[in-house]
Amino acid sequence: MAKVTMIEAINRAHAWEMRHDPAVVVLGEDVGVNGGVFRATAGLQEQFGKDRVQDTPLAEGMIAGMAVGMATQGLRPIAEIQFMGFIYPALDQIANHMARMRNRTRGRLTCPVVMRMPHGGGIHAPEHHSESLEALLAHHAGLRVVCPSSPARAYGLLLAAIREPDPVIFLEPARLYRLVKQEIADDGQALPLDVCYRLREGSDVTLVSWGAMVTETLRAAENLERDGVSCEVLDLATLSPIDHETILESVAKTGRLVIVHEAPRNCGIGAEIAATVAERGLYDLHAPVKRVTGYDTIIPLSRLEHDYIPTTARIMDAVRETLAQ
């Protein structure tokens, strides 16, 4: 047992699986000698060689397309996109091939690929280094979208993602990479995909969040507890397909729902959660659903980015408003 940061947990999940499954290969820009710009793949090239840990030329579409080609040949590529804002050139390959190859060929060719990338802002990075684009991927049938919020979940969910026979987009909240340390056993134990994780039980209101925003959401829940408000906190974890059942169950209990995400509000994943509750849990609701999200504008450069990302105060106010109804 060792206490590790999320970035170390990710690194160990890679190493564990590469030791046990020779089909796993790692590709991306600067993932080899440099070990990734965040050091997620540090040391892997030394351990597993240049064939299995490959620096690629600078072209995300090519990286994703190459991963498709390799996967159809039975390999299990883990491809890194350096920052989520640079996923756009890869979307054609992800949406039109990775997500579709099994369906297109009726199962003849498949794409067990993991596309990993840092997600979200708050790290004072330059433009295009702070994007939260999960909704774009979630809208595509044939993909799973996963986003851990702790080192242990990063470890367990990444292992599950690598072992999944279909493509998984694995979003790593950049501002959590080194925020906290947590014990992980590094025993190759995967965590289940397609389910929410209940981080806190509560009875007054359900808070659903994922990725880095789980930190602020939990903090809001703790603060509110002091005021006598009991919050149930769910980490969505798999952003697509969504585990609506757990959310609906929780809302049936609490009667109130606040969704927290960093991505822009319009057509974000929060909309899908709220819509499903409006369809299937309407009679359980004691108050209107609330979304606390990034604004429908471009996430600003560092001087203003903290005014963009939802704060604990905004979350707490939303909870109070929903309780006041």
């Binding site: 072209a59 390999l75 390959q93 091939h97 369906n103």
Partner: protein, 384 residues
């Protein structure tokens, strides 16, 4: 040499005179790299064989096999267009005129190589074991057509050029495993304008992958003639940007195609890296059955292209070699017709897929919500 650009004044007007430096007056610049693009043809449009043709040119059994598949592809194509015209097939992309390229490429490959086609390389696919009924099923709007017999080959690829990184990725897998296999990836002249083409060949070059990229230059990308697609004199020279060899071949000469692709594959198998082969041919048909090329294409150009089409020249050569005559031609045609008839029957008698089919192949582990949607779809299934 047949140059489809001939009819397009834009091309020559726009091409910079000599691809050389804007020469600083009176200054001698050092040359740091030089390149040449070569052209290969053995069998000219009239069926005359070049004196230095390779042994293949007298391997009659192989030539007859190739002629057989070219004839089959031609007949299949005509039948498919017919099925479309009579409402029995969806939009269809004809391979008319491409038979030498398609068959020559496939004939140069090993069965366990992997082919990544675009959408009209039926001659290659039939050679490699894809049933004509599978082809019809796909173009008839049924995904089961892509669950075809060449198990590791890629399905048809509609998003132009996106198959090129696949070919490179497949070759990377082969290289990592130390196999002696290769990937062969097709792309059209229009497709060479997409960044994915270039990204894929650049990767292949940078990692010396066992891959061959066949650019089928049929002169047109729907209504865009090659001269408007690019200012390059050849498409083979696109290889220079990837640091790999590029060569032009008469795509209507099956001997040249097979020879050049064979050499490229041998080179790849030796570990010497990828090659771009530009096959010069012509799209004798409309772009697809949904297109009307008369809107944008000079009929004189098409007529001229018919004079250079691939079948007669090979037939002439075989006739000269005394292994072909009218009776054998007749017999082959009948044999092809029978095979095609059987494939069409199989296609037309394939029952509609169930609505479940759209849900059952998306994931190995489908989420519950998808199974619920499958129920809804069953409920609202249309009567056919």
């Amino acid at each position: 040499m047949y140059n489809p650009r001939g009819s397009c004044p834009g091309a020559t007007r726009r091409m910079p005179a000599r691809h050389e430096l804007i020469a600083p007056r009176g200054i001698e610049l050092k040359t740091v790299a030089e390149f040449a693009i070569k052209y290969c043809q053995f069998l000219d449009a009239e069926g005359n064989l070049a004196a230095d043709a390779p042994a293949l040119a007298s391997d009659t059994s192989e030539l007859l096999k190739m002629y057989r598949f070219m004839t089959l592809a031609r007949a299949f194509d005509s039948k498919a267009v017919n099925l479309q015209r009579t409402g029995q097939l969806g939009t269809y992309a004809s391979c008319l005129g491409h038979e030498a390229t398609h068959v020559g490429v496939a004939a140069a490959m090993q069965p366990d190589d992997v082919l990544a086609p675009v959408y009209r390389e039926f001659g290659s696919q039939i050679w490699r074991g894809v049933k004509m009924s599978s082809i019809l099923l796909y173009w008839g709007g049924d995904e089961r057509g892509s669950d075809f017999e060449a198990r590791e080959d890629f399905p048809w690829c509609v998003p132009i050029a996106s198959q090129v990184p696949h070919g490179a990725g497949v070759a990377m897998a082969m290289k990592i495993r130390g196999e002696k296999r290769c990937s062969v990836t097709y792309i059209g002249d229009g497709g060479t304008s997409e960044g994915a083409f270039y990204e894929g060949i650049n990767l292949a070059g940078a990692r010396a992958l066992p891959a061959v990229f066949v650019v089928v230059n049929n002169g047109w990308a729907i209504s865009i003639p090659i001269g408007q697609q690019t200012a390059t004199k050849t498409l083979a020279q696109k290889a220079i940007a990837a640091g790999i060899p590029g060569v032009q071949v008469d795509g209507n000469d099956v001997i040249a195609v097979r020879h050049v692709v064979g050499e490229a594959l041998a080179r790849a198998r030796r570990g010497d890296g990828p090659t771009v082969v530009e096959a010069l041919t012509y799209r004798l048909s409309d772009h697809t059955t949904a297109d009307d090329a008369s809107r944008y294409r000079d009929p004189a150009e098409v007529k001229e292209a018919w004079n250079k089409e691939p079948l007669p020249r090979l037939r002439a050569h075989l006739t000269k070699m005394r292994v072909w005559d009218a009776a054998r031609e007749e017999a082959l045609k009948n044999e092809c017709a029978r095979e095609i008839e059987a494939a069409v029957d199989e296609y037309l008698s394939t029952p509609l897929p169930s609505t479940d089919a759209m849900f059952d192949h998306l994931f190995a582990n489908p989420p519950q919500s998808l199974l619920e949607q499958r129920e809804i779809a069953r409920r609202y299934k249309r009567k056919h």
